[in-house]
C-alpha cells in the first residue's frame, strides 16, 4: 500500500497557490500536484527541474526563449523567462544534452513526441476554456482503412444535443493537426471542443461534427522509406513526402469520409463538408479539397496553406490543377476559402501566406485573409483561426 499512499500524499500536496498568495501561479497545463511551471500576470514563466548531478540544463521554448537554467543548492535547476505572449507554448528541457519533457507538465503530442507545454492565459479571454454551457462530447473511434491496411484512430466532436435529437443530421468539418502532432492536438492543445461549445452557446456558429484524423499514412504493404543520409529537400525526401500526402488523401476520401458518414448522422454532401488544417494540415487541406471539390465546399488553411508553392507566386492557371483558373466558377463552387497566419510567425511562413493572399486577390478569387495579432506559429494563432473560421461555415 505504501507506494500509492506516497503518491496520494504527493497529489494532496500544495497543488495551487491562491491568487492572493503571489503573482506566480502553477500553470493550468500542469499535472495535479505540480507547482512548476508557474506563470505570472505578465506572462513570465518560472521553470524548475530536479537534476542534481547534471552540469548543464537549458529550457527550449520552440517559439520562445531558449535559456540556460541555474543550479540551486537543493539539486533543482530554475529559471524565470521574459514575458511570453498569451497561448500554449511547447518546450523541452535539455539536460546534459538529453532533450526531455518536464514531468510537471501534461504531455502534448508535438515534434513527434510527448512534449511539455505551458499555458499563458490571455486576459479576459474565455472563448477557448471550459464554461458553464452545454458541452459536446469527444469520441474516440477506430476505422479500418483499406488504403493503409491498418486500424486508424480519430477523435470526433459531436455537438451538445447530438444524442437528444436523434433525427437531426449535421454538417462535418475535418480538422487537421500540424506536422509532428497527431489527432489529439486540436482537443488537447487547441481546445477545439470548448471553442465550438462556446460559439454554439451564443449561436455564433452552426452545430457541426468535427473530425480530427491522424495525418500520417503509408499505403498497405508500402515499405518505409530509408532516411539515411538523405539531405533536406532531396528528390528522395520530396518523393517520400508526396507519397505520404497521397496516401493520406486517399485515406481521407476513401476510408475516413465513408466511415464517418456511415457512423454518424451527417449531411453527407459537399455543401455540408468542410476541411481545415494547421501548418502541414493546411497543406493537406489544400491538396485534398482542391483535388476533390466534389466532396468539399469549405476550405481553411491555418498557417500552412499554399505550402507546396514553396514561397513563389501562385499561378492560378496551373497550380492546384487549375482550381483557381476561373474565379466565377470558383466562387460558385467553393463557399469559403479562408487563410490565416500569425503576425509574428517566422518570416517565411508569413510572407508565404501574404503572397498567397495577394495572388488570390490578383486572380479575383474570393477569400478571407486573417492575421492573428502578436502570435507565432503556435496554438493561440490556430485557436483564433478556428474561432473566426467556424462561424463562417454552413451558412
Amino acid at each position: 500500500m505504501r507506494s500509492f499512499s506516497v503518491v496520494l500524499l504527493f497529489l494532496l500536496a500544495s497543488v495551487c497557490c491562491a491568487q492572493e498568495s503571489g503573482n506566480f501561479q502553477p500553470a493550468t497545463t500542469n499535472v495535479w500536484g505540480a507547482e512548476y511551471p508557474r506563470v505570472d500576470g505578465s506572462g513570465r514563466v518560472q521553470l524548475r527541474v530536479k537534476a542534481p548531478e547534471a552540469t548543464k540544463v537549458r529550457v527550449n521554448f520552440w517559439s520562445g526563449p531558449k535559456v540556460e537554467m541555474e543550479k540551486q543548492a537543493d539539486g533543482f535547476w530554475t529559471v524565470t523567462t521574459t514575458p511570453l505572449v498569451p497561448g500554449l507554448h511547447y518546450y523541452m528541457f535539455l539536460i546534459d544534452g538529453a532533450e526531455v519533457a518536464d514531468t510537471g507538465s501534461h504531455a502534448f503530442f508535438g515534434g513527434s513526441k510527448h512534449a511539455s507545454a505551458v499555458e499563458v492565459p490571455e486576459p479576459n479571454s474565455t472563448y477557448y476554456s471550459i464554461q458553464d454551457v452545454p458541452h459536446g462530447q469527444v469520441r474516440e473511434v477506430w476505422y479500418n482503412s483499406k488504403v493503409t491496411g491498418t486500424w486508424r484512430h480519430a477523435l470526433v466532436y459531436l455537438p451538445p444535443n447530438y444524442d437528444t435529437q436523434p433525427k437531426a443530421r449535421y454538417p462535418v468539418l475535418y480538422l487537421q493537426h500540424g506536422g509532428g502532432e497527431d489527432e489529439t492536438g486540436w482537443i488537447r492543445q487547441g481546445n477545439a471542443n470548448f471553442i465550438l461549445d462556446n460559439l454554439l452557446a451564443t449561436k455564433s456558429c452552426k452545430p457541426m461534427i468535427v473530425v480530427m484524423a491522424y495525418g500520417y499514412a503509408r499505403r498497405a504493404n508500402q515499405a518505409p522509406p530509408d532516411s539515411t543520409g538523405r539531405p533536406f529537400g532531396s528528390p528522395e525526401m520530396l518523393k517520400a513526402m508526396q507519397e505520404m500526402a497521397s496516401a493520406f488523401e486517399d485515406d481521407v476520401t476513401q476510408a475516413l469520409i465513408p466511415y464517418i458518414d456511415s457512423t454518424f448522422r451527417t449531411l453527407p454532401d459537399r455543401d455540408h463538408r468542410a476541411m481545415a488544417g494547421l501548418s502541414m494540415g493546411g497543406m493537406q487541406t489544400f491538396q485534398i479539397t482542391l483535388n476533390h471539390l466534389d466532396l468539399f465546399s469549405y476550405i481553411g488553411g491555418f498557417s500552412g496553406a499554399g505550402g507546396m508553392l514553396g514561397g513563389r507566386k501562385l499561378d492560378p492557371k496551373t497550380d492546384y490543377k487549375g482550381a483557381f483558373a476561373d474565379p466565377k466558377k470558383f466562387a460558385k463552387t467553393v463557399h469559403l476559402l479562408w487563410i490565416g497566419v500569425g503576425t509574428v510567425e517566422p518570416e517565411r511562413m508569413r510572407t508565404g501566406l501574404q503572397n498567397l493572399h495577394h495572388s488570390l486577390e490578383e486572380a479575383n478569387i474570393r477569400h478571407i485573409y486573417y492575421e492573428s495579432p502578436g502570435t507565432d506559429h503556435e496554438w493561440q494563432t490556430w485557436r483564433r483561426d478556428l474561432k473566426d473560421f467556424a462561424p463562417r461555415l454552413f451558412n
Copy 2:
C-alpha cells in the same frame, strides 16, 4: 515549411523492422518513427537515449530491472534488459539524477506524471488488442461536480451498437485507475475498450457502459493539505487521504452517477451497477460500494481491495460498517464480490489479498478469488482481472 518537412522526414523513416529482419522490434507502445525501445521474443528490452554530455544514465522499470546504461561513441546510451514478463511495463530514465520520460515511448499517465512504458507481447494473446470485430466508442465527457466545485473529465466506453439501437438501455460498470494514474489509464494502459469489444464479439459478456472517472477529489473551497515534513503514515497524512477518499465517494455518488444516468441510456438501478478498481481504485471501490449497497450490487477489487485493513485480518462484524456480518444477507444483496492479485506482486499486496480471501471464506462470504500467474503490480494483472470479471457481471 522547413520544420515540418524535417518532422515528416523523421516520421517517414524506418518505423518498424519487418519480423524477418531481426528478433528485436520496435515496441507497439512507441511513437511513430521511434526505433527504440525494442523488444525480442523472449521479452528482453533494448533501450536507447541520446544524452551526449551526461555522466550517468539508468533505466528504472517500476516493476522490473533498474540498470545502468552504457554510453556509446555517438552520444547515445544503451542497454538490453533481462527478459520481462508479458505486459505493459512503466519505466523512466534517470539522467544525471533527473527522472525523465523516454521521448521514443508514448506517454502513459502513472506515478503522477506522463511516464514511459513498453509493451511486451503475450504470445498468442489477442484479447486485449484491437481485432476485426465491432468496436465500441470511448467518449470524453465533462461533468460539473457540486462536490468538488469543478468540471471533471471522465471517459465512457459505449458498446458497439449503442447508437444503432436507440431504445436499448445498458448496465454500467464504474472502473477506477490506480494511485498516481488517471481516468485515461484503463483505455491507454489497460486497453479496456478492446477487452470489452473482444468479449462482446464472442458473446462472453453482456453489453455494458464502462465509466472511467478521475479518482482524486477535493471538496469545493477545501484548502490543499500542507505536506511539508509530514512523515509517511502520520495522522495528518491519513486524515488527508481520508478526506480525499470521502470527497471522491461523494463525487461518485452525488455527481458522477446522476450525470451518467441522465446522459446515457443506462439501467439506473443497483442490480445494473457495478464498480471495480485497481490498487487505490480497489480500495475506493470497497469503500464506495460497501457504503452504498443501495447503489451497487457487483464489486471488484483488483490488487487493492481491503487495503484499509492494513494487512490485518478482516473483522466481518465491524469492518466496512458490518457489511460482511451476515453472509446470507450479503449473498442476497451482492451479486458478485471479486478480488484478485498477481502471483509476483509485492509480498505485502499478495498477503493482503490472500488474507482478505481467507477472512471472507471464514466469514462464509461468497466471493471469487483470482490469481494472475506470473504478473506483478502492473497492467497485465488488471487486464486479466477485467477479462475474468466482466463476463460475471449482469447475468
